[in-house]
Each structure stands twice: as C-alpha cells, then as structure tokens.
C-alpha cells in the first residue's frame, strides 16, 4: 500500500487537484460574476484544502488558505462582489498555494497577496455595492401636500441612481382618481450608502409608506434572476473526478494490471490456436469462454486508464487568460470534445506540447487588437481546442483565427537555417512541416512567452514517441490549425492478421475499411497502374510484397486491404487475410525505432513475433503515389 505510506504525498496530490478545481471555478466565475453556486463551490474546495492541510501538518498552507477562505466568505455572503481584480488576485493566491505545497518556506510571500485580495474586495464593495429602495407612498400623499418628485431628488442626491416606476397598482383610466398617488418607485443607488440616510428622506411618511431597502446585487431582488439561469446545468460538474464513487489507485498498479492482461491475451491466443488444431470441441468451448473473458477484462482494464481530455483543459484556460493579460490581447478560448478519452500516460505527456502550441498561437498566431481591427476582424482573437475520435485515432486540434503562417517567410527562414535549399520544390504542407524541425523559429523577436524552452521540434518528438503525427494547415489571414493525431491506446488493439509470402503482419483493425480481391489485370507483377477502382473512386495501392522485399512467389488470389487514416485511403496488397486477432503492442527497440512503416510488434498465438503496420505512414506513402502520378499526368 504505497499510497498510504506517505500521507503528505497523498495530501499534496489531493490539494493540487483541489487548487486546479478552484482555478477552474474562478475562471468560470469571471464569466458569470453573480453565480452564487460557483462561489459556494470554490468556498467548499478552499475549506477542504484548509481542513486537510491542518490535519496533515501543512500549517502554512492551512493558515494561508484560512485567510483566502475568509475573504471568499465575504463574497459568499454578498458583502463584496466578484470583479476582475478579485479573480486576478485569487488566481495568484492559487499559485501561491501551489508554491506552499512544494515548499512551505515561501510562506512570507503570501501576505501581500492576501492584502491585495482584501483590497480588491473592498474596492468591489465600494464600487459595486449600493442599495435598492422600493417605495410606495400612501394614496393620499399628494393631497396631503407631499411631493414624490422632491423625495426622489433627495434620494438622487445620495449617489448615482437609476429610477424605475412600479405601475402595477394603477387602475384602468375610468377608475383613476388623478389626485391619488398610486405609482411606486424602485430606486437603485450605487455606492456606499447608509440605509439610515434613505430612511431619513422618508422620515415624515415613516408610518404611512411601504418602504423596502435591500443591498444592491443581493440575489433576492428579481432583477438579479437573469444570470442565475445558467447555474443548474453547471451544478453537477464541479464534482467531476472527485465524486464519492471514485477511488485513487497508483498508476504503477494500473500499469502492472495492464501488463498482466497483455500476457493473458497472448496466452489466450495460444490456447485458442492449440484448441483449434486439436479439434476437441470441449476444449474449444472452454477456449472461447476464456477468449470472451479475456476480451472483457482487456476492455475494462483499458477503460480504467482512460481519462477525458477535459482533465487538462483547465490549465489551458488559465494559460490563455495569463497570455491574454501579458500580451494585452483579448483572447477567447473555446474547447469542445472535452469528454474524448485518451490513455492517462498520453494525456500527461501531451500537456506540455499543447501548452507550447497554444502559447505559439497566442503569441505568433493572433495579431494585436489594432492589427485585427485594421483587417476587419473582431478585436478578440479566438483559440479553439477540440478533440474527437477518428477511427483508431484521437485528433486534437488547436485552431486560431490569427494571421496564419506565411509560406514565403518560412521558406526564407528554412533556407537561412540550412533546412532546405533555394531550388527545392516544396509543397505548402512540406513547407509547414519545416516549422517542426529543430532550430527553426519564425518569431522575429524572441519573446518571454514563446522564445524559451521547448521548441516545436520537441512537440514533434513527444507526439512521435506516442506514435502520433502532427499536421499543420494554415490560411493566410484566417489563422492556422495544428492537428495532433494520436493512437487511441498504447497497449492492446484489435488487429487484422495478414500473410505475405509466409510472413505475418498485423494491421490495426480500426483503420481497415474493407477487403477486396485484387482484380485480375493487376495480379501480374508490378503493373503500370497503381490505382484500384473501388465503386467508382480511385484508391492508390502498394504491394507490400515489393515494399518489404518478399521473394516468395505471390499467391494466386491476392487480396487488397483498404486502410484509412486522416481521410485518405490506401490499398495494401497481401497474399492472404488470416484472421482477427488481439494485438498486444510491444514497442520496437531502439535498433528498429527509426524504421518507418511499423508501429510495433506483437506476439502471435504460436509464440512467433509479427510486425504491426503503421497505417498513417503507409497512407502517407499512398499520397506520394498520387502526387507522383499527378505530376506524370501534368508532364504528359
């Protein structure tokens, strides 16, 4: 029980999750200032951090959070209102809590933050607060010589006022006595007004009038209803990830379980192939039962390791907010597909590359508000992050609506850096890919934001280590899109086992679109045409036999497995389609890691090793075939 062994590590982890949740709450609060449910949720989280902090001996954390919580309590009780300053300082306070968790010695730095927080709240109390006065005079007030107009003027003298008439009590014209005073007034007075001053205005009518004084911004008056409508949908969300039905399990234990399940799946495949050769029907039934159980176990284990992308988007929102302030550019950050799930390891490894991409988008992609106005774009730039499933892959896109990439500039820079030559003919896509090369930076000035630390080459390496790919698209003036394609899982996939000249290979089943016979005209050796006509559309194909230099003669009935990735297709010519199989992915060693075309290896039922084909790379090969034939056509 390693987790229990070190309770303070457990607390640190829990606290940093809570701080992340507080941060998300604060950022939401920035958009919906009056949302009392959100305020309460942040308050609750703070309270938990304080309580467990004190329990585990993190006294500095507990002390600081106590003050933070006290300040937030004022918001909760409506004594102060949320404004941009309060949010900004509170976010700093979150950073400080993180600092305290890492190193309690930073405690003295907390005092100025708390002072600033109190200050921000006081100013919020001063500017945002005020009173709502609802008053109805007695019906005979005018006949008795009172002047409603003067009373209202007196109220107006107390501060900035907004006056609205309350006409509900006015009867139809026929029944109306013009000497009656039937109109009521609702007066909002801004600023720090003492309710006693208001009462003093009505001192001569004190017993006769209907006077109601409430603080401005209090949720009770009807005018404050509108912003609260958004709350119910949100109420359930903060519980995400910390609900009562979840359990914390150390990642190593999940990894261990995954390894075991992987071995079980391989053993099961052996059992299955033995049962089939033996032909014993009783054995076959048992083998099939075990196969079913192993598949269920595999799926359950893999789903345990899956976490939604939403679990890291919180920090990107914070990042964009900070970038927006630092750069002085209003930026809107939108996310979609947050419930798309990926292996936890993958998500963790992706966080830094995504931070870098978003930072680049904000710093280099988006223009300054002035530039944007000049080209008739909305002043606020937009960065979108969306995630979706696509076959056996997950696509994560970061899109900005900035100036886009400048191919000419990239070309110039690449030539300067020796990444390409003057006379190289590069397509736009190839040109954009150069951005990912080490030693390439298009920023003319190295800024504090994007110029430091990791470059796009590191982003590329991380993604490629995860067997993923990066695509860059851009439209000048309209922004650019960076797409990360990642395999859904790193562990076990369903594969289609194929045979070429006695060698076995596995193709990820999710990428397989269909299998067809190789038409007779193509059967003979390498014919001139490398396209298949599949129901009217042309699909390029490659003979894996040629690609893999297989010398054994081809079978008489070759098959074509049509695979797809990123919207493109390619046909793979094979000798025989063997079966579906569970493919436990084993990474290739560093001796073979650089080899294109294979994404790993797996162990078959008979104990031999089979290579797993890398579909995206094969599809990319198909594209070059298409390009080449297009060039040939142009030349002809």
């Amino acid at each position: 029980m390693s987790a229990e062994a070190d309770p303070s590590a457990l607390f640190r982890q829990e606290a940093s999750e809570l701080v992340a949740s507080i941060e998300v709450g604060l950022l939401d609060l920035e958009k919906r200032e009056g949302d009392s449910e959100l305020i309460a949720s942040v308050f609750r989280d703070l309270h938990t951090v304080k309580g467990s902090g004190a329990m585990f001996g993190f006294t500095e954390v507990a002390a600081f959070v106590h003050e933070f919580e006290t300040a937030f309590d004022r918001l909760r009780r409506g004594e102060a209102a949320v404004n941009a300053d309060v949010i900004a300082v509170s976010l700093k306070a979150c950073d400080h809590i993180r600092g305290l968790l890492a190193d309690p010695a930073t405690a003295p730095a907390g005092k100025p933050i708390l002072d600033a927080l109190a200050g921000a709240m006081d100013s919020a109390a001063a500017s945002g607060a005020g009173l709502v006065v609802q008053v109805r005079l007695p019906a005979d007030a005018i006949r008795l010589g009172h002047h409603p107009r003067r009373l209202l003027d007196e109220l107006a003298a107390l501060g900035k006022t907004r006056i609205a008439a309350l006409p509900e009590a006015i009867p139809p014209l026929d029944d109306l006595d013009p000497t009656d005073c039937l109109t009521g007034w609702r007066v909002e007075i801004e600023g720090n007004v003492d309710p006693a001053d208001v009462e003093a205005v009505f001192v001569f009518l004190a017993d006769l009038i209907d006077l109601e004084i409430t603080p401005l911004g209090d949720p009770a008056p009807s005018m404050a209803e509108a912003p609260r409508e958004a709350t119910p949908a949100r109420t359930a969300a903060p519980a995400q990830g910390s609900g009562p039905d979840t359990m914390r399990v150390a990642t190593e234990r999940l990894d261990e379980l995954m390894d075991r399940v992987g071995e079980l799946v391989i053993a099961e495949a052996r059992l299955h192939s033995i049962a089939q050769t033996a032909g014993d029907s009783v054995l076959l039934v048992v083998a099939e039962d075990i196969q079913r159980l192993a598949e269920g176990l595999r799926d359950a284990t893999m789903s345990m390791r899956m976490v939604p992308i939403g679990s890291i988007t919180g920090r990107f929102r914070r990042l964009v907010r900070d970038l927006s302030t630092q750069l002085g550019r209003p930026i809107r950050f939108e996310t979609s597909g947050e419930d798309t799930e990926l292996d936890k390891t993958v998500i963790e490894l992706l966080a830094d590359p995504l931070v870098h991409i978003i930072r680049n988008a904000a710093d280099h992609g988006l223009e300054s508000p002035q530039e944007r106005q000049a080209v008739c774009k909305p002043e606020t730039g937009t960065i979108e992050l969306d995630a979706e499933y696509s076959g056996a892959e997950v696509l994560i896109r970061v899109r900005d609506d900035g100036r886009g990439l400048d191919p000419a500039k990239i070309r110039r820079r690449a030539i300067d850096r020796g990444l390409t030559t003057e006379d190289a003919q590069l397509s736009e896509a190839e040109l954009f890919r150069l951005v990912l090369e080490p030693g390439f930076s298009t920023a003319e000035r190295v800024t504090d934001l994007s110029g430091r630390g990791v470059g796009m080459d590191v982003v590329r390496r991380t993604v490629e280590d995860l067997r993923g790919q990066i695509e860059i698209a851009s439209e000048p003036g309209h922004g650019s899109t960076i797409t990360l394609r990642l395999p859904l899982t790193l562990a076990i996939i369903d594969g289609l086992l194929i045979e070429i000249g006695g060698e076995y290979y596995s193709i990820p089943l999710a990428a397989v679109e269909e299998c067809v016979e190789l038409p007779a005209p193509h059967a003979a050796a390498s014919g001139a045409s490398s396209f298949l006509n599949i129901r009217g559309s042309l699909v390029p194909f490659v003979r894996l036999r040629d690609l893999f230099a297989v010398t054994a003669p081809p079978s008489d009935f070759q098959k074509v497995v049509v695979v797809t990735s990123g919207g493109s297709r390619i046909g793979l010519v094979v000798d025989r389609i063997v079966a579906n199989n569970q493919t436990v992915i084993k990474q290739l060693s560093r001796l073979h890691a650089a080899l294109k075309g294979f994404s790993g290896a797996t162990i078959l039922g008979d104990g031999t090793v089979a290579l797993i084909l890398d579909v995206p790379q094969l599809v990319a090969l198909g594209r070059t075939i298409e390009d080449r034939s297009a060039r040939l056509e142009r030349a002809a």
Binding site: E263, I266, E503, Y504, D546, L547, F548, A549, V550, K586, L588, S589, R590, L591, H592, A594, L595, K596, G597, F598, A601, T602, I603, G607, T608, V609, A610, L611, Q617, L618, A620, L621, T624, I625
Partner: protein, 157 residues
C-alpha cells in the same frame, strides 16, 4: 572479470557475464523488412520482443549456416546510458571463464580487417586469441546508422 566465450565466424569472442541474460536454442525469427543486415529480425524471449543481431555482419566475418551448435545469446547492452535487450547469434557457445583484465592487450594496428572501434581488446583463452567486442559502440552505431536512412519512399524513388 568473468566472460562467456563463443565462436563467431571462425573467431572466438568473449563477452562479460555482467551483460549476459540467457542463452537460447534457436527460436523462430521474424524478419524485419528494410532493417539492414546487422539486425534484421525479431525473436520472442519469454514474452518480450527482442531484436536479433548478427555480430558477424558488423565484423565482416563469414556467415556459416546454422548448425546444431548455433545459439542465440540474449544480452543487456547499454546504449547512451540506457540499457536495451538484444540477442546475438553465436555459431557455438563454449563456456564461462575467468579473464585477467591485465592480460588484455590492445588490438594490433595491422594484420586484421576488423573495425578497430568495435574491439576493446584481445585476450587469451586456452591458447587461442579471443576478441573482446565493444558492444556498446557496435549497437550505438547501428542505432545511428538507422535513424536517417529509413524512409518508406526511399525504395520507390
């Protein structure tokens, strides 16, 4: 220093037992297309996929067909600080014996065709000369040689 001695292409090689994992009777191999002659196949070693390399290729020795004596020797080789598991083919594995490090001599500059980087020294065993290969260099070079040369469309153009 304990070493395991083995015969490869008519020479005797000695490999420190520190990096020896196990010695296997030949198991089925899976060819890795386009991987070059040095490490062009994979084997299954107790559920792990391990590359099989042929030192005879690295040392430009004659390749004998497999015999009853052929073995696969599984080793842990450090490459750039990280250890990887590889298997090598041996025409025959002799035994484990003690080597006096003081008796190891540098490779003479002439009289052989071996790449000098790949050899740590020459020792003596049962009145024979034995080669102590520098496995780290051999495998590091293989990793580097691979990195740039392996694009799919190479073959096509």
């Amino acid at each position: 220093m304990n070493v395991v001695t083995m015969r490869l292409g008519g020479e005797i090689m000695a490999i420190p037992t520190d990096c020896l994992r196990e010695i296997l009777e030949p198991v089925p191999v899976t060819r890795v297309p386009r991987a070059g002659a040095f490490s062009n196949s994979l084997i299954n070693v107790r559920g792990a996929v391990v590359p099989l390399a042929d030192l005879r290729v690295a040392f430009a020795m004659g390749i004998e067909p497999a015999t009853m004596d052929t073995r696969m020797v599984v080793l842990d080789v450090p490459i750039g600080g990280e250890s990887i598991t590889v298997a090598i083919i041996a025409d025959k594995v002799h035994d484990v014996s003690h080597f006096d490090p003081a008796g190891i001599e540098d490779l003479p500059a002439v009289g052989h065709a071996w790449p000098p980087d790949f050899i740590r020294g020459i020792g003596k065993w049962q009145n024979d000369f034995v080669i102590l290969p520098d496995l780290e260099t051999v495998f590091s070079q293989a990793v580097q040689n691979h990195a740039p040369a392996a694009s799919l469309s190479d073959k096509e153009t």
